[in-house]
Amino acid sequence: MKYTQKYIKNLNKKGQVQYFLESAFRIGFLMVALLAFFLLVNFYIVNRIDTNRLQAEVTANRIIYSDAIMWQDNSRVYPGIIDINKFNDDTLGRRIDYATKSHAAAQLKIIDNKDGTEKYPPAYLNKAQYENFQAIIGKEGKGSATMYTKDYPITYRNGDESNYGTLIMNIIIPNS
């Protein structure tokens, strides 16, 4: 007990405070360095990929290259030639049938190249979803949606009659 009291009495308290002040600066710098290190590591690790555009492209390619609306001669599909008999919501829904209905929705319109008019009513992929998304297009945040528009020159075929037209595809992808 006597020894402890003596030891405490002999301690240079002024010196202790001085070293603490010097160290505080270094501790602060160390904290900043650690923070910067973790920030840099987080920058290089890609843990968030924006797949909205990819989803839209996959949906568009699925429509233009598949037998969903394209003309077929026996089993051979002709990409770029649309069969008007298939150009409706029902055929699109049956031939492009994903288990999850909330990932993408699309509106397809055919414009005649001669006069620029729509000869046939538009066809929809997930029509209900497309109509729901209309109100949230272009808004900010996860609850919103983005619309991508794609134009393709095509030939549309009704029976034996063929005409040149343009397929306008409005694809809506939710931002979540």
Binding site: F29, R53, I64, G80, I81, D112, T149, P153, T155, T166
Partner: protein
Amino acid sequence: MLKQKKMFRQKKMLRNKRGEDMLIDFWAIAVFAVIILLFFLLFSVNKTVNENKAKTQFINGDTNFMLESFLRAPAIGFTPPKTVGEVITEDATTGDFKDTEDLFKRYFKQINQLDNQNIIEITLKIEGDNTKEIPIEKNKKTGTVYELYAETYIPGYNKKVYIRLSMWSLFKPS
């Protein structure tokens, strides 16, 4: 006098250690800040390039589809029935590209946009026994215009025919 000299020597030998430490700390922080900045700049540059690359690949896919569907499309108004590709092959041999020009203009008449960007001009370049370049003007040029293209070869009567479809738009490929 001797005592004063001794004191002077002692003073000269004493070094301000605290000042040295501060200087070292200052340089350490400065170098650290420069390194962080350098890494950040490198990261930013890499990120931009990757984004552009992905976008270009998608759009080039569209021009490939357009060229493929144009060549396979039926040549409407021609008897006996033939495809646009067959008409181009015949025209490349004779040198009269009137039919090709007519089909090209009818087929690409209503298309105006590529990836939400206005198409400024569409050109079809044919090189076979004869050469021809057919342009379709779409929108007015409002800045630097970039070419997105698809190209292919089809069999001709004497030699193969080279076809290049170009979309001139404001989209900058990487």
